[in-house]
Symmetry: C2
Subunit: 257 residues, 2 copies
């Protein structure tokens, strides 16, 4: 039986090291991505000694350079249009900036990727590949409840808004009756980081337990506007590949030079 | 001698029609862009009757569709990383969304364009060309004072911030001692649209007259981080072309397909 952990344990150094122990014991783990800043060099070394490739997510070229100094193998450059906590720099500006800053370390492009045209654009901007999040959330295999999945399919790009109401830090997610209430002119300002989370955690949990989809603001990037129907991931992947191929073919045969 | 006009006259219908009169009297005018919403159809018709091509700037596919209904010939899709007043959707998400919404009307891609790689990315995302603003501001021909031009050259991408302190609406421009003061935790919230402009107009004018560059927050997109030196526009254009050509060549000869 698993020992009970205090809340937030997974974000402590002790908690991270426990997860690391599990990762290095399992030979299926081929890649680990740090999404919470530069991993300490001893963590990178331990993963490398087991043959695990290590990546880190960066929202600025300064962060990416720090992560390279920690010894990571791959940078995921994530623009501000992505879901969740991000930096302020958009993918169009960030991707080539990070590519230039860390070359020859390979960069995966994240934030706003939802079609093969985006994959081709990422190649044009110097990335070696892409990293997608939001487009899986409307899929048949998604972890979301059917009610919330429907909201993902209905949402427009501008419905993935950045606000501080859930964690105290800017977080991009679906607009909801909950965010509308916080956006009202007479609403209080959100509290700082930890305090805001404490203030709202119980309410958010109740929305989830009641599957009150209209009040739930699941993390989402702006590319949510491109999700028009529920599809299996196999089909989403196939369409990305075909669209990317057609885009590269269009660029090859165009008059542009 | 020109008749004295009340402030804001250029933004009234009467003021716009006066400008339109000047445009249609001058055969050099080949293109007019509306950056303040859909132009009324009679304005588009008058310009068309003189052979002038009409464009409109859009920050969402809904706006772009309205502008097409007004009869405009070209849409400039401007992402939220651009300087000045913008929508909330980033270029990566917005450009292909607008291309799909208004096809076969041609789309120029704006917001975050500062290299030939960006031009190639715009082609990949379905645009017919690009529209640049910020990259001219550090040029030898720029309208900026030498002190302010230096700040453009020194600025990083994350220094082009969106704030409401100058007009009451979100406006992207260079971070300054002025925006830092408004960002302080004990600063008042900005007033609504017209009131905030009235509140700060005199102070902003004094900064400008004193060439107090540290306090001035000239409009700027996030691509400002790519301006590393003062160059003549001829040289900036030449580099855009060479870089775009090399990028398309790299995509043509890559193993990706």
């Amino acid at each position: 039986m698993l020992r009970e952990k205090p809340p937030g344990h997974g974000h402590t150094e002790e908690g991270v090291l426990e997860v690391l122990d599990v990762v290095v014991r399992h030979p299926q783990a081929k890649f680990v991505l740090s999404a919470m800043g530069a991993p300490p060099p001893y963590v990178v070394d331990r993963l490398h000694s087991k043959g695990v490739v290590v990546g880190a997510m960066a929202g600025s070229s300064e962060h990416a350079q720090k992560q390279i100094q920690s010894g990571v193998d791959i940078i995921v450059a994530q623009g501000s249009e992505a879901g969740g906590h991000t930096g302020t720099i958009s993918s169009m500006v960030l991707w080539p900036e990070v590519v230039d800053a860390v070359s020859p370390v390979p960069v995966l492009a994240a934030g706003g990727v939802g079609s093969g045209r985006h994959v081709a654009a990422a190649f044009a901007l110097g990335a070696e590949g892409v990293w997608c999040g939001t487009i899986w959330l409307g899929s048949s295999e998604s972890e979301l409840s059917p009610a919330l999945r429907k909201r993902f399919i209905a949402a427009r790009s501008q419905d993935a808004i950045q606000r501080k109401y859930d964690t105290g830090k800017p977080l991009r997610g679906l607009r909801s009756k909950w965010t509308d209430a916080w956006d009202a002119p007479d609403a209080p300002r959100p509290l700082p980081l930890a305090a805001q989370k404490l203030l709202v955690a119980a309410a958010l949990k109740r929305f989830e337990l009641a599957d009150a989809a209209d009040y739930m603001g699941y993390m989402s990037g702006q590319i949510v506007g491109r999700i028009k129907e529920e599809l299996p991931i196999r089909e989403i992947m196939a369409r990305l590949k075909v669209d990317c191929h057609q885009t590269l073919e269009r660029l090859r045969t165009s008059g542009w030079q």
